[in-house]
């Protein structure tokens, strides 16, 4: 028996198997991908506008109660030309980003603590989950009392909204790490912090990213709730305030315009930032990319 011959034999057999066994990944053609990623939002918007036009055409309510798309567009145009829309979007986005960034840091730290120490999890786990069933507006008075009418108060509300999602996302990500990975890590020599750094955190990524994504939605919701109520010229115009001004002026066109802006910005960030990141990560791991 010649070792070299056998090796060659095995090698060619393996190469044949490798060629046949490799899973075939079906790459969608570009046209189909575009159709899937661009068409839905367009259809959705068209659908929305159509429903709206029908409602207006039915004259169920006077147009000062349910304004026409044209009214809303005009209202948007007017505030745009005054620079109020740009300022509002910029202010709200800036706050959302800063708030979200801080929430990500705090939420990650909290999630890690909860995942690693059973006692911490036991003590504050239910509390953290519970926070999600309190509306953000409930925090506004407390936040204002603590921080006055400052960005600080707004950030506190945003944090209280976003941190639980992020912490819980990381926690559930960690709890879903197959124990096998931890065993492999230990066999390879990863213990303690090394294990967290090289095994636990990367393995928990899918749950964590899901948490971050949901955390963004909550941060945005909470920010709007906070901006609706804390109101000071020193804080500058914001989207939430635009909505509030619309209500105070009984200006339904402005109310609708503000709701649309909030929706577009909130969903836009999710679709443009979080979705692609999550998709790429899931795809790199060969995981199922969800329906959305």
């Amino acid at each position: 028996m010649s070792s070299i011959e056998l090796s060659d034999d095995v090698a060619s057999l393996e190469a044949g198997l490798d060629a046949l066994d490799k899973p075939v990944t079906l790459r969608e053609p570009l046209a189909a991908r575009l159709r899937r990623s661009v068409l839905p939002p367009v259809v959705a918007v068209a659908f929305l506008v159509a429903v709206w036009l029908v409602v207006v055409a039915l004259h169920l309510k006077p147009t000062y109660v349910i304004p026409t798309p044209a009214d809303v567009w005009a209202s948007l145009g007017q505030y745009w030309s005054e620079g109020a829309v740009q300022e509002a979007v910029w202010n709200s986005l800036r706050r959302a980003f800063v708030g979200f960034a801080v929430a990500a840091v705090v939420g990650t730290a909290l999630g890690l603590l909860m995942s690693q120490f059973r006692f911490v999890r036991t003590a504050i786990g239910p509390l953290v989950s519970g926070l999600q069933s309190l509306p953000s507006v409930a925090w506004v008075p407390a936040a204002i009392i603590w921080f006055g009418l400052s960005d600080g108060a707004i950030y506190m509300v945003v944090l209280l909204g976003a941190v639980p999602s992020i912490a819980n996302g990381l926690l559930s990500g960690v709890s879903q790490v197959p124990p096998l990975y931890l065993r492999v890590g230990r066999v390879l020599g990863a213990r303690g912090f090394t294990a967290i750094r090289y095994v636990v955190l990367p393995a928990a990524m899918p749950g964590y990213l899901g948490g971050l994504r949901q955390g963004w939605a909550f941060a945005w919701r909470s920010l709007m709730a906070a901006e609706l109520i804390t109101f000071s010229p020193a804080l500058g115009t914001s989207l939430g305030q635009l909505l509030q001004i619309g209500r105070e002026l009984s200006d339904m066109s402005l109310v609708m315009a503000a709701i649309l802006l909030i929706l577009v910005v909130g969903v836009g960030i999710e679709l443009l930032v979080f979705s692609p990141i999550e998709r790429r990560m899931l795809r790199a791991r060969g995981l199922n990319v969800g329906p959305t």
């Binding site: 006077p62 008075p141 109101f231 200006d251």
Partner: protein
């Protein structure tokens, strides 16, 4: 008078849905609804009441057709009128006047000392907000609606204002009763400006009765009865102010679970004037001021008043007529 006596029965509405606030400035509906005067005068028309926290919500409800009439401040009334191109509502009477003050922490003694501070008002572009900005302007202080000026005007909810004032986070606030009194008595503030001193005869409107135009057209008789109920309540209050005060406080307790402290009630009551006169002249002036300080654009208020029913009632009671100041039917 525009209504035909023969149509009286036909124009009675089956129900009247009336909105008001659980607030001392709404003393007339508070007392009259609680003691049954409103229901009695309305007779066969069933009275349904709604309590609101703020004017915009009441206007939303009016727009939605969820209520027919509401007691609100002048600003929501103006907004409801102008945003609906003069269609949605009419002011048919007043309910109270006066009772707004600029209360500041004791260390502020004059306008100049307020430079660099934050002062709260109840609502951006609201009567008190406009009054504060106009007054600041007259004192040479700028208070822009966005960005920073000499003084930061921060519109916010009154309860929040009290908290922030107690903590020293704001220098003061231009607020209506009972908040002015609470700032003084509970927050240790002092009155820097009493709004009454800025108006001729100290009269400016605080609470209006607005009615949806559609309801007014369909059921003038019912609106007349509503005015009558308010008038009767006013007579009762005038006859026995002490009893009225207690009744108002009881009504507050029933609606919100809390009463005003006697001292607050006392002080607030004395600052307020209950009257059916909508004090139309002040409305236009206030609107002009709003344009001047930049909180709103020039608004056409022509036709906002329909005081024909009120004046008919006043004539019957041998009282002086109320003026629409050229902004509608008298």
């Amino acid at each position: 008078s525009s209504s035909n006596a023969g149509d009286a029965a036909a124009s009675d509405a089956a129900t009247l849905r009336l909105g008001y606030f659980a607030n001392i400035t709404h003393a007339l509906p508070l007392i009259g609804i609680a003691n049954g005067t409103y229901a009695k005068v309305l007779g066969s028309t069933k009275l349904e009441t709604q309590v609101f926290n703020a004017g915009p919500a009441a206007v939303e409800a009016l727009f939605a057709g969820a209520i027919d009439a509401a007691y609100v401040g002048p600003n929501p009334a103006i907004n409801a009128f102008t945003k609906s191109n003069g269609e949605a509502i009419r002011i048919v009477a007043g309910a109270s006047s006066g009772g707004a003050q600029l209360v500041v922490a004791p260390q502020y003694t004059d306008a100049a000392s307020l430079k660099g501070t934050t002062i709260a008002t109840p609502q951006l572009g609201g009567t008190q907000d406009v009054a504060l900005r106009f007054w600041l302007k007259s004192q040479g202080l700028s208070a822009p609606t966005t960005g920073t000026g000499d003084v930061t005007v921060a519109p916010q909810e009154n309860a929040q204002t009290l908290d922030l004032f107690k903590q020293g986070k704001i220098a003061g606030a231009w607020v209506p009763e009972p908040w002015a009194s609470r700032l003084v008595l509970e927050g240790g503030g002092k009155v820097l400006v009493d709004e009454a001193t800025l108006w001729p005869k100290g009269a400016f409107v605080t609470t209006h009765l607005i009615v949806s135009t559609a309801f007014l057209t369909a059921h003038p008789q019912t609106v007349a009865k509503l005015l009558q109920a308010e008038y009767d309540t006013l007579q009762e209050v005038t006859a026995d102010p002490a009893k009225a005060k207690a009744a108002a406080n009881d009504a507050l307790k029933a609606l919100t679970g809390k009463q005003l402290k006697p001292a607050v009630l006392e002080r607030a009551w004395n600052n307020l004037t209950l009257t059916l006169d909508p004090i139309a002249a002040a409305l236009q002036t206030s609107a002009d001021h709003a344009v001047e300080v930049g909180t709103t654009k020039k608004a056409d208020l022509d036709g906002i008043y329909d005081l024909t029913l009120l004046n008919a009632l006043l004539t019957n009671s041998s009282k002086p007529q109320a003026s629409a100041a050229g902004l509608g039917k008298e």
